[in-house]
Symmetry: C2
Amino acid sequence: MATIRDVAARAGVNPSTVSRAFSGQAKISEDTRQRIFVAAEALNFHPNAIARSLSVRRTQTIAIVIPHIFPGFFEDSFFPQVIRGLLEVAYQRGFRVLVGGSNSHEDNITQTFQILGSQQADGIVVLSNRLDVDTVGALRKQKMPFVLVGRPPAHYADVSWVDADNERYTQMAVAYLIQQGHQRIAFVGGDPEVAVTRERLKGYQAALDAAGIRACPEWIDYGYFAEAGGYTAVQRMARLDKMAPTAYYAANDLMAIGVMRALRTLQIAVPDQVSVIGTNNAPESLHVVPALTTVHVPYADMAALAAEILITAITNDERPIAQRYVDCELLIRDSTGPYRPDRAE
Amino acid sequence: MATIRDVAARAGVNPSTVSRAFSGQAKISEDTRQRIFVAAEALNFHPNAIARSLSVRRTQTIAIVIPHIFPGFFEDSFFPQVIRGLLEVAYQRGFRVLVGGSNSHEDNITQTFQILGSQQADGIVVLSNRLDVDTVGALRKQKMPFVLVGRPPAHYADVSWVDADNERYTQMAVAYLIQQGHQRIAFVGGDPEVAVTRERLKGYQAALDAAGIRACPEWIDYGYFAEAGGYTAVQRMARLDKMAPTAYYAANDLMAIGVMRALRTLQIAVPDQVSVIGTNNAPESLHVVPALTTVHVPYADMAALAAEILITAITNDERPIAQRYVDCELLIRDSTGPYRPDRAE
DNA sequence: CTGAAAGCGCTTACAG
DNA sequence: CTGAAAGCGCTTACAG
């Protein structure tokens, strides 16, 4: 590989001049610029990004750590949409995205700090939001920039995040079911150790409270974001007889689809007998029959915004501090309908 | 950030000794090793990966370029599975994955060469396999290691790839339909400018030929891997009356799902009146009703194998040359059944 | 086992 | 506008 010295030698200039010619910033006489580019072309020279990074102490790279150990992670629409948002903004701002795997929730921290400590990236977008792993507490003690997708469990005023108002939109979805006449409404959450699950549960409870409905503990279950989790939740709850839910709120579409599959098995018609609402507006929510009513959560936009905040902070040499909510939307499709006492059993 | 010099100063040794202590390779007296680690700990020292990369001329990073501009790319199961395979192997071998976006099919080449030219990665896994863009021809002219997921359009004996035998498995899928008594079988391909589409079309034709069926040009359509593409293909073909297909082969599950949606609209029962086979075994193929018969293509495994070949070559300082097929499997589920002349109309 | 030196390929403050 | 020098933070061949 040709280096800047080779080009300099061939063009009869100092290496620093070659550097300036390629930087595009410095003023160079048109004549020497020409000579340099001709020489570079002839030698098939490409500036070495690593050398530049070392010199300027900036990599033009943002990182993300993905728990590759959970196959389910790659079947949910969350992950690809996050990558898409990141990539879009990074591309446009001239950054690359460095992805590290992780072995477990704890390893997520280890890997995050490894990337940051070894300075392989200028900053990081952090996804992990488990209540039992205080990533954020650890991160804010160091100086590398980071932005969370999802709020931190504890409220740190000095930490930057982008999030959907999960509580509010879950409340809205459940309120819609109530408005359709439903009273016995199930909540099928994801991983109970994840912050978003708690937030959604709060929203669910708020909706019931506002309507004066007393929540029954049997209506609450956790499906860990998996289709099978939605399925088993129904198996459990359908046994409640007179207290069996007539509507299900599920914290992602995969679980909602599992709910629908279980109801089909039990010969319970959706939405005639039971209504189902999912979350995320995953592609498959549109492809199932009946098409799933769901809360659109713009994960690509969230990630894009996080990347934007992060890169801007990096570029301006400051800490990211912005905290932003994105808007969601309840998409009413065919899996929800009015409560029909006549058809309920 | 503390550097190796700071640690050396505090431990009272030469920087090179610190380097050796952290390399893990060189022999160091237990005593000085201790002193060094204590000093490193006190200073919160982490070796700078960029500096190391520059020095050893290796980044411990493999790259991949993703056309972030196509939203559909992120709705297909292909992309997340590829990332999963890459991440798994990279993690295990101590590599990271660098992801670059791209703006168009042509830009894919530009970005690939930019990453390689600037030496941001030690090698690259290449996805783009368009017939009109000779990425491979350009790549083999340079010396950076690369492995293709999917064979190159032209046969380059010196290029490394991992692929499914698309022709063979499509033939197998179509042969299965024929064996079920179907004669009028549609082919809904992806993007006709992509190599895999041609391969599948060949397999389709081979199956018909083997059974002595004359393929009818109207049975062939391209849905560009989108659900809507499958839908419109049916709209077009259902008008063929007596020549309308009684079975559809679709080159991905999204299109197969579109096919099923169109048939539902036309009140044509699957599989009683018409059979449908998809491809890829995407998560949603299991969630639709009836569950989709499909060809499982192990994209995560393919990507993992590609990463394995690439990283091994990098580590051994040689060109990757392996060419490997992975096994697919026809998963017979509920969307296919015997041809029933009595129910066909 | 450890030190001193040179080098990886850039950038940039300092002179002129 | 251009050059010469020092430096970014590591690694490693060479001595001892």
